[in-house]
Each structure stands twice: as C-alpha cells, then as structure tokens.
Symmetry: C2
Amino acid sequence: MKKAVVLLSGGLDSATVLAIAKSQGYQSYCLSLDYHQRHVAELQAASRVAKVLAAVAHKTVLLDLSMFGGSALTDNNIDVPESPSVGIPVTYVPARNTIMLSLALAWAETLGAQDIFIGVNALDYSGYPDCRGEYVEAFQRMANLATKSAVEGKTITVHAPLIDMSKAQIIQCGNALGFDYGMTVSCYQADAQGLACGLCDSCRFRKEGFAVAGLPDPTHYQPLVG
Amino acid sequence: MKKAVVLLSGGLDSATVLAIAKSQGYQSYCLSLDYHQRHVAELQAASRVAKVLAAVAHKTVLLDLSMFGGSALTDNNIDVPESPSVGIPVTYVPARNTIMLSLALAWAETLGAQDIFIGVNALDYSGYPDCRGEYVEAFQRMANLATKSAVEGKTITVHAPLIDMSKAQIIQCGNALGFDYGMTVSCYQADAQGLACGLCDSCRFRKEGFAVAGLPDPTHYQPLVG
C-alpha cells in the first residue's frame, strides 16, 4: 500500500479528502496544525475523523501563527464576519496552506511517501488565493526542487481532488463513501463543544452545500441559531 | 525605508545576508526557527547578530521538526559526519528551507513587506537541494500565487544574494561591511557555549573560507580541536 500524507483540519473538505485517499487504497498519515486558531474544536474533530477513517497515524504540529497576526482566525481583536465580504475576507490566514503543505512535505520525505492530499477547493470558497489550482501546481513544482527525495527521483504529487467540485458535490462524494459529516467542524467560531455559529462564511457554504445536495444537514449548531 | 524579512540562523551565511540587507537600506525583521536542532547555540548567536546589525525586530518561531525526524540535526540517534559525505549528507533537514521561507512569507504579508532574504548558497555547500537558485525561483513563483498581497499586486521577491558566491567571497563581503564573524555559530554540533567542533561539514567550509579569504578565523573552537 502506498503512503500518503493527508492534511486534515477537522472540517468537511479535508475529511472528504481523507475518505477519498482511503478509497483509493492509500495508507493515510494525517497532519493537523494547531496554529492557535480561534476554532480549536476543529482539532478535536480532526482526531475523531482520523480514527474513524482508519488513518495509520495522526500528528498535530504546534505552530503559533498568532505571532504574525493578520487574520480573524488568529487575532481575537478581528471579528469573524457574519455576512458575505467583498474580496478576500479577513478570515484569510497569511501563507497558511503554504506552511501546512511545507510541513506535509517534510513528513512525506521522512516517511518515503510521494503523495500529499489537501482539501482546497476553488468553487464554493472564500476566494483565498492558496486554494486555487495554479497555486497547488506551483507548490508541487517547487516541492520537486526542494527535497533530497525528489532530487533522487522520488517526486511528490500534491493531490487536490476537490479543486473543481462544488460544496454539494463534495458532500455527495463523502456521502457516497459512507462518511458521517456530523463529526466534522467547519465553523470559524465554533464553541468549545464544536457547535457551529451558522453565520460565518464557512457555515454558510456548508449549509448551502447540504441543501443543494438534497441531504440532511448533520451540523450541530449553537442553540440560538437553530 | 523598505521592510524585509531576513531569515537568520545565527551562522555565517545568514549574518552576511543581514549585513547586506542593512547596507541596501532595508529595515530588517529577522526570523529564526527553533526546530529542536542539535545546535541551539546558533539561536543565541542569531539574537546577538540581530542586535548588532540593528534589526527592527527578531522573532524565533518554535516548531519541533524532530517530530518528523530524518536528519542528524534533529535526531540525536544520527551522528553528525566528521568527514566529507558522498551525496547529500545526513545533516539535510527535510523541507527545512521551504518551511522557513513559508513562515517568512506569512510574516512578510502581515508586515506589508515585499522582500525576503535567505542565505542559501550553492557553491561551497553540502549539496542540499533547497539551496539552489532554481529552487529559490520556484519558491518565489509559488509565493506570488499564494498570498492575498501578491494577488492584490504586492508581489514578493526572494533575495538570495550569496547564491553564487564562494565561502571566501561571502566572508570578504561581510568583512568589507565591517561585520565580526566571531559572534556567529556555524557548527552543527556546537556545545552549549557555542564552541565549534572544527570537523563537521559546516565547520570545514567555514574554516577553508577564512583561509582562502586570507583573513584570521575568529571562530571559537572546542579545546581539543585547537
């Protein structure tokens, strides 16, 4: 069985990617990032998802991105928007996907893995630049110049299987693979129990996704939202 | 004055790069990485160098790369070679420069800086793939697809001013800028006081550099080495 490093946030997209990697016969080594994000409940969700989808290993890297600030997800002084923003919203975390893919690259090399999976998606998304296909391709190209393994012929492929899927298609895919989305947390401001606000970008895309997919929304919402 | 993020290890190369950035009129924001490396004395050296070269700020990111292993610099069970190796040596740290440049990219974006400096050099070096010009170019290309700033027109330039310089030329450059290399630590297995072994790759390149440059070697060696 081939080994793959799967970036796992604990949200809907990355859980679907893990289910896809599993269905393709990969042994999954899941990597999460504790970057002092506002929504720590997603890390607990990541642990649940890794266990349920039989990951071989799950590591959580501690890296305090709040030391750089610049995002509503790492700076408690910046509010998470509860209505659609113009342009790239303040929930964008500078260079986050680049940092996560770099860590995945390090682990892949020591594991002897040649495959990295990431749940970026450029259709029903917030416009983050590091979620686009051309970005993923540029990362892969750079990665294959960066490592000893690549130089020795063991090149890396960065898989972004969701890149051109709508949120509804992603949900239908995971549903077809038998995955229970109730255990994931997407909300940017989930409370300590992992209950979702229902208002932020991430909640809205998710809620609409279930509606369009014609599937019941298993998300656990905070009481006031209903 | 333009702001730049300067990756600063505490060794000879990155100190020279900081001196160069300063001479070019940049306000320097220095970034070091505490990755649980064997040679922690280099981080103390980084602090001294940042202070002496009047950096505006100096941050040290804590990130335990020993969790991935695979290098003599992060795994105490792998010895640092004390004679030249064939191929890329075991002191190579998987994806280290990619991780450091990614962190620099995050900070640059929140600072509004468009310049990152890194002290890689592909002449008198250990053959690490992430020290080559084509790697640096690929990183810059990826970075300019990754960030909100780049998408909005504030592109990033990754400067690697030492890329084609010999170790002797690097030393002559720093010397011309009045920099005292006695405060830097290059040794992969420096002791707690920062005293160098004189035997590892890094020590050998440095020692030969001072000899070829015709300058006294200000390195503080461990007593037995002389």
